[in-house]
Amino acid sequence: MRKLRHLIAVLAVLAGALFLTACGSDGQAPASSQPSTKTIDIKFEGKSVTPNGERVNVAIGQEVKFVVTADAPGEIHVHSSPEKQLEYGTGTTILDLGSFKTAGIIEVESHSLEKTIVQLEVK
């Protein structure tokens, strides 16, 4: 019993040391100053869409543009705050989302397909 308690105390101290080291390495490089426009190609074909729910990194203040290729017109919902709705037609449409001022995950969805197209990770 006493030995077990001793062992646990040792484990606790070791874990504590690990915790301090983990805390210590908390340096992050600041984001680059003026990023170029992020262009995301979106392709609608029947009931499928690419990309298919993947996450894309976007910097705060970076312009975002969708190049949509579609076989039927539709609407894209951007769940930013406030939300945006963008329409596209058959063929190729270029949609300008502007930039995002705050950090967060922004879901971009097609409500007619009931699918998430991309998640923009703004930071």
Partner: protein
Amino acid sequence: MISAHGIGGARDLPISPELAIAGAVAALTISFTVLAVAWRTPRYDAATSGRPAPAWIVGIVDSTWWRVLWRAVGFVLFLYTAMVAVFGKDLLTNPLFGIFYVWWWVALVPLSLLFGRVWRAISPVRTINLIFAKLSGGDPETGVYRYPEWLGHWPAAIGLYAFVWMELVYPYSTELGPVRLWCAVYVALMLIGGALFGNVFYERADPFEVYSSLVAKLSVWGRRDGALLVRSPLANLDTVTPRAGLVAVTAVLFGSTAFDSFKDSTHWVTFLQGSDYINNHSWAPTLVNNLALLGFCLAVGAIFAAGTMLTGVEPGFRRRTLPGLFAHSIVPIIVGYIIAHYLSYLLEAGEATLIKASDPFSNGSNWFGTANWKVDYYFAYHPTMLANIKVLAVVCGHVVGVIAAHDRAVKLLPRRHQLTGQLPLLFAMVAFTIGGLWLLFSA
């Protein structure tokens, strides 16, 4: 349909890997430190813990006008909600959705944490039951039958599951008709239950009262024999009564919140949308989401039950009672994780609901003068601070949970099993906490 949350815009960024690891290591360290150095004789005793609340607070809280005031506040909120549910438009600008999913479900937690049994004080179904009893000259405390002991909190667990199913799985969760129907069924069942069993039904079977009163056990407010007490949250938590179904309530609350994080992760989204089979069968996404929600809740319950039962006990002690006797100790872990999961959502969607509430019929009116407010996205500008608060909430919840479990273990378990008997539960708790941090990191 996945994650088309009609309410709330951008979601929180994931926490950084460094922060997740730091939180996980802190949880591990504290767990073993508690085990190694904490007290060896039980410290919390419901019969003696706490001290009487200051006389002036008792004077206010136990007065009739105070009770009537909060019954009235709850009833006005109820009437307003019924009004927008019946006469409001089926649009996302209808404040009903925010009242239902944000004010009722999410705000109840911090309110109960600060002020105690909030839903019990404002519950409109209790108020209606009280009015019926007064009108018929009866006693609201008693009904036609005695509430059966074996039923315990099971109806509440089912009710809570019905809510999270509505919120997370049901594809039409932000349409007026279904939400209205859910509320109507809730009120109807609660009134029937109150008539059959009296107020004890609300205490044990109303999902919102059970949730609120369970979280209130982490507040400083307690009662013994009717007298208001001020207690430490840990001593207060020790007074949770282990009724049938209590473990199910905790499993639903924790499992569903974890699933809520998980279903937005890219793992789940790309799996659901990338599977040809699911894409080709329109019923498949809902079914898979249903199974995942159920799976999360069952997994939480199973891990917890295993963690508590894998210990040596005195001969003749029924091992099956252990999960219930330890169930209070998972409550702080749940509350910590719920704070982490919902903090920014509560502030942002909660304020958005207040703005929409000023225009209940979506016709441009401004009843309360809040319609022109702009939602304050404070945490979107301070993501690092938000991430730190989240990890802190999870780790604090873990610490309180581990201490609560330790005290219960030294009270219940035979001396030679007190240390080793705690280990499986400790591992279960560490698994929950690290799982929660992983979800905050990957969602």
